[in-house]
């Protein structure tokens, strides 16, 4: 399940953010993926779109790494 979600996020990153390298859970969205505010927003929207979940402000506040995002999506999918 976790791997599926990570793969899905990697696909979003490739398709919508132009991220070409591998994506691992410990990577930080800002410092490592180098996402600026517009790209962070794109990531949030496209992840919601792909997994059919809605992230709340409270969820998002805790998300620093790709792994945090995977974990949040997993929780939402129940």
């Amino acid at each position: 399940m976790g791997t599926d979600i990570l793969d899905g996020i990697a696909e979003v990153a490739r398709e919508h953010l132009g991220w070409e390298g591998p994506l691992t859970g410990d990577m930080r969205l800002v410092e490592d993926l180098r996402l600026d505010s517009v790209r962070l927003l794109t990531l949030a929207a496209e992840v919601e779109n792909r997994f059919r979940v809605v992230l709340s402000e409270t969820d998002e506040a805790a998300i620093v790494t790709v792994g945090d995002l995977v974990e949040t999506v997993r929780r939402k999918l129940g």
Partner: protein
């Protein structure tokens, strides 16, 4: 004739199509008539008065695009207070950065209370604790519940004061908007009712309804932004017309929804900064445009940041298939210190650009037209003219690149002054220059700000004897305004203003960087699709090789974390490279001038590679860079 924004609200809601249409991510629309907006605002006003708000108190607002924003904004006005729209947090963004900014802005406007969306309020605790507005932070539901009698009393009082002239006077403040610089030196632009009403009337006059044509506007612009609030909301309210709104975060995620909304609801007016048009080019798929008809779109206003000629042309050409008229694209110029708009290009013809001698502009500060090879000196940026006799160029297109003379620079006209405005291009001593000479742009008109709130020194520098020194550089040619750059220290990215100090301070204490010796600038390079952000950092004399190797990455990460902005270019320079004044102050515009002239010391190899990558994003930039490298040998 309205004298205050309150007057507009009190008389709106008589026409059946007067109101707000909110479009959500499922493209479902919710309709709220102006009459209902007024009822909700009256309830908020009653609550604010019961909580202790008094005339002139500042009420900060933090809401996403939605009806609550309008209830709070107009509620503050009906209570005699001054609304101050602030922005909600960015998705997945750094909260600490957001809290710091909001704290500074709350302090700068001396807010009495913060009204916030319930979900956003959760994140404002720290900012509110630091800025300590007297009535704290509340959601609209947490205001003292106005009974129906209270609300009726406010409504009666508002109606009575409007009738007897006891309402807000036209020289009282209608709103405060932040022009830039949020963590560092926030500039709170104070606008009177008179200024806002004057601007609203001018804009409404640009699209008067006539037989068979009822104008309506669609916008994804944030409501804390002047182009979104003053440009879209007030004219719709004044004309008792429809305004279709999409949340800005929805536009960024799915730009096609903007174009689809324009088509579906037949919007005739829709503005965006250059960034918005550029985003559509890269992120809208043809499939998303199926069945969309943009032929209703008469005024695709393009302002709030420099207009890239290549983006204009590419947008006109790409979306002509879906009915977009080449005449729709309308570059405009304005600034929050003038409430909003100062110049418009003609609404009924394609935008215009001119080719000017680059060296003459830079060295002699003279605008000399040149011929771009085949074709005339001036081109119209319409889809049908892209390769036509007008010689307009398609930036990013190989044919355009080959035909472009190295010495010519293409600049888009932002048109002529709006009714009541005057333009004056001046030398650094404030003396007026003749047409064709490049200088500082001063403007006068009926909607200038009262000043920067709580900052008399900055106000005195900006406002002089009825004129506003915009800090923008440009020239007049055939009565039209062409902008060439900025004399003021301001970063403009995606339609939003940022203070360079904010970016520079982010790298101040990095290991290997020389403290206090960084300069951030942004500008619109030839052929680029928007302004690029560059940071120049001097390395410390004591930097170790390991620190130096890590410095570029550290700088990029630190700027992103502190500001949410990605650097397009970064140069690490030897100590002492950056130009300074005699008193030792770093000179930002001089840094940019030297950089563009190739006269700042070359960066170490690791950053040269990055510079090449950044330059490669625009074909022309890359060609120039390669040429320059070859010359260097």
């Amino acid at each position: 004739m309205a004298e205050t924004v309150n007057d507009y609200l009190l008389r709106a809601g008589r026409l059946p199509d007067g109101g707000l249409r909110f479009v959500d991510r499922g493209e479902q629309a919710t309709w709220v008539g102006w009459g209902e907006v007024r009822e909700r605002a009256l309830a908020v006003a009653a609550g604010l008065l019961a909580a202790g708000a008094a005339r002139g108190d500042r009420v900060a607002l933090v809401f996403p695009t939605g009806v609550e924003f309008f209830a709070a904004f107009f509620g503050a006005l009906l209570a005699g207070a001054v609304p101050v729209p602030l922005y909600p947090p960015v998705r997945l963004g750094r909260l600490q950065e957001y809290v710091n900014r909001t704290t500074r802005m709350l302090a700068a406007c001396e807010a009495l209370v913060v009204l916030a969306d319930a979900r956003v309020k959760h994140f404002l605790g720290e900012a509110v604790a630091a800025a300590r507005p007297r009535l704290g932070c509340r959601t609209l539901a947490e205001l003292p519940g106005g009974t129906s009698a209270d609300i009726a009393a406010v409504a009666a009082a508002a109606a009575a004061t409007a009738a007897t002239g006891g309402g807000p006077r036209s020289d009282e403040l209608a709103l405060i908007q932040f022009s830039s610089g949020t963590t560092v030196a926030p500039k709170a632009v104070a606008l009177s009712h008179r200024a806002v009403v004057a601007q609203t009337e001018i804009l409404s006059g640009c699209w008067a309804d006539r037989e068979g044509l009822r104008h309506s506007c669609a916008s994804w612009l944030p409501l804390y932004h002047d182009m979104g609030l003053i440009g879209c909301v007030f004219p719709a309210l004044a004309r008792d017309a429809t305004l279709t709104l999409l949340p800005p975060e929805l536009f960024v995620a799915r730009p096609a929804l903007w174009l689809r909304a324009i088509g579906r609801y037949g919007a005739t007016i829709s503005p965006a900064p250059n960034f918005g048009y550029s985003l559509c080019l890269t992120r809208v798929a043809d499939a998303e445009m199926e069945g969309v008809d943009l032929s209703c779109w008469r005024a695709a206003l393009n302002g709030a940041e420099p207009v890239a000629p290549g983006v204009l042309r590419a947008f006109a050409r790409r979306f002509a298939r879906w009915g977009l008229s080449p005449a729709a694209l309308t570059p405009v110029y304005g600034l929050s210190e003038a409430a909003l708009a100062v110049t418009f290009s003609a609404l009924d013809r394609p935008s215009r650009s001119g080719w000017y001698d680059r060296e003459a502009l830079a060295r002699e500060r003279v605008a000399r037209r040149v011929s771009p090879g085949a074709g005339g000196a001036h081109g119209e940026n319409g889809a049908h003219h892209a390769h036509g006799a007008h010689g307009a160029h398609d930036a990013g297109d190989a044919r355009g690149l080959a035909g472009l003379p190295e010495r010519a620079q293409e600049i888009v006209s932002v048109g002529r002054p709006l009714p009541g405005f005057r333009l004056s291009v001046r030398d650094p001593h404030g003396r007026e220059l003749p047409p064709g000479r490049v200088g500082r742009l001063w403007v006068s008109g009926p909607s200038l700000m009262q000043g920067y709130l709580g900052d008399p020194e900055s106000t005195a520098r900006a406002l002089r004897a009825g004129w506003l020194d915009t800090g923008d550089l440009g020239f007049l040619d055939d009565g039209e305004l062409y902008l060439t750059g900025r004399a003021k220290d301001l970063i403009i990215l995606r339609g939003r203003n940022h203070s360079p100090a904010e970016i520079e301070q982010a790298v101040d204490s990095l290991p290997g960087a020389r403290a206090g010796c960084a300069v951030a600038v942004s500008w619109l390079p030839d052929g680029a699709s928007g302004e690029v952000l560059a940071l120049f950092v001097e390395r410390s004399r004591h930097a170790t090789p390991a620190e130096l190797a890590a410095l570029p990455d550290a700088c990029r990460g630190a700027v992103l974390a502190a500001t949410g902005l990605a650097l397009d270019r970064l140069e690490i320079l030897a100590p002492g490279t950056l130009p300074r004044t005699s008193s030792g102050k770093l000179q930002r515009s001089e840094t940019l001038r030297l950089h563009l002239a190739g006269k700042l010391l070359a960066p170490p190899p690791v950053t040269t590679l990055r510079l090449a990558r950044a330059a490669a994003r625009s074909g022309l930039g890359y060609a120039r860079w390669r040429l320059a490298r070859r010359r260097e040998g």
